[in-house]
Subunit: 352 residues, 2 copies
Amino acid sequence: MNENDITVNLASTSKIDSVDFENLIFGTVFTDHMLICDYKQGVWEKPVIKPYEPFLIDPSAKVFHYGQAIFEGMKAYKDEHDDVWLFRPDQNFERFNKSAVRLAMPEVPESVFMDGLKKLLQIEKAWVKTGKGNSLYIRPFMIATGPGVVAAPANFYRFMIILSPAKSYYSGEVKVIIAEHYSRAANGGIGAAKAAGNYSAQFYPTKLANEMGYQQIIWTDDATHTKLEEAGTMNVFFRINDTLYTAPTSERILDGVTRKSLIDMAKREGINVEVRSVLVDELIQAAEDGSLKEIFGAGTAAVVNPIVGFSYKEKYYELPKLENPIALQLKEKLNNIQYKLAEDTFGWTVKV
Amino acid sequence: MNENDITVNLASTSKIDSVDFENLIFGTVFTDHMLICDYKQGVWEKPVIKPYEPFLIDPSAKVFHYGQAIFEGMKAYKDEHDDVWLFRPDQNFERFNKSAVRLAMPEVPESVFMDGLKKLLQIEKAWVKTGKGNSLYIRPFMIATGPGVVAAPANFYRFMIILSPAKSYYSGEVKVIIAEHYSRAANGGIGAAKAAGNYSAQFYPTKLANEMGYQQIIWTDDATHTKLEEAGTMNVFFRINDTLYTAPTSERILDGVTRKSLIDMAKREGINVEVRSVLVDELIQAAEDGSLKEIFGAGTAAVVNPIVGFSYKEKYYELPKLENPIALQLKEKLNNIQYKLAEDTFGWTVKV
Ligand SMILES: Cc1ncc(COP(=O)(O)O)c(C=O)c1O
Ligand SMILES: Cc1ncc(COP(=O)(O)O)c(C=O)c1O
């Protein structure tokens, strides 16, 4: 298939002029069009690009009852020549299909995911604004549309891509709490998949954390709560003295594109990076002896999200305020690659 | 609220005559009407009963992206006087709202859940067939309809009830495999909630088990895989000599209505019941020395699901074929209460 095999029904008018691009709230505004591709009993149908709008679905669709749903999160950036770029889209595509397998859903063909996305982005090019910090957030997702209230995989699925313009993500001063009771993933579970059900599972513990004044939770392994795993819906890095630590990916930890890109970049910068489990005890020790310099989350939405302090067993540990934290150095360098302001020596960027 | 506060729009014709009640496939046929009740920014609106049909929903609805969805499963039975009965509906209502809290969703008022259900059942009375084994499966569920691709609870929700006529559930000879790697719930996770995401997480491991010739998985604790927890989407009982064992409910185990009813009934029958964790090692030991007599799943759909054998570490253990297994004795007694063929000395049945 190539992109000519996509049916395109354009909207008669664009809502772009009604959007206040200076005051976007993340994930709330959508562009004029969406991509839909249905899977019926073993076959992917022809993708359709059409106006963004609600769609009809049966009350017994398995996505509602059994959470058979997966998604990805990626971004498109515009350079100074008005060209639109994706960042390592192959990684999101691969991860999407890994999630599909884990949720017993059909894999989406590359032609549908990639050609569909590129075609949609060409149509919505005006929604990608130039200027560092501006981007178009891309949400590919797949839901089980097949009917039936019996707990087994569906026969019908729908793959969709929707797009949401975003400003640079500033989440204020982020304080986190280390999970002592709740957890986000089980051994032998679906934590490594971008499965819908993983996220709503975090809402209640996060609400409790918010009520205590913390914006996010640093998740620990569910069996012992001794190993630090992820921060909210991001991977997490710790800087102790001049070494960066981050947990290895596992069944419980998402293989984040930002995480692995930061690791590669940091190594090339000559920064010492160790991929290994960090224990809560180590972190407390390092916070107490002053060797803990930084903690930051890593993910597509914020790229890097510096953390100013953390709480554990009702004690709050404040991180030092550094002149030139590694977190922000790496963010700057990664953003420069994404916006084509620096040479992409890794070959990560893909022109739309 | 009482049931007069429900808006009712009846279907112009019924499809009941086109349904082959002798050859129903579980969960695939739905009655003429459904109940819908929307929640908008803090307020439950008036419930509506209307023809069963697909509905419109935004592509960014949080149910699709974050699996914010819960459900219940219960049944209506008809006695010989054409009266319709529910079995311990208070338990399902309570559990539904516990699930809601864990998923950071609004609790549904009793008037909406109970009066709504009763009104809907009155309308669909003809769909509940007399005769043991026949029932109307009831699926109350709630989904996050609020839009937005940011991982946080929605502002809008939809509560619905749909109904599906069912024959007695016979699943053939059920062989199970004991989980050595995969698992269904984490410590500090959502295993005790009837959250949609728990179920699709089981699809892939169950598919692998099916390919190996096993119909279901007996789940073990995810940390050590040494404790026996649930069977498929049922609670599980083991009979060793003349004692029944079943795991205590926990964060990882659903508090099943059938499980607790069987415990109460068995105790009243003078059967020894111990609620405690059963170890895989114990089970193997008991299978080897011949003291393991029965294993059965317990849940609303099948009531009791006898298991004929299990596999562990590539070895298959066959269970003895008993004359009068406790599983079937208890099933018979529970069914007699549900169909009003025996006196309900527990006060479990509720007339619609
Ligand atoms: C649980 C979780 N961890 C980590 C990440 C970061 O992954 P990525 O860098 O690919 O966005 C995400 C997604 O954003 C996530 O959902
Ligand atoms: C995971 C799980 N365990 C056990 C059960 C049995 O619960 P109940 O007896 O209330 O149907 C169910 C639901 O049917 C379930 O989903």
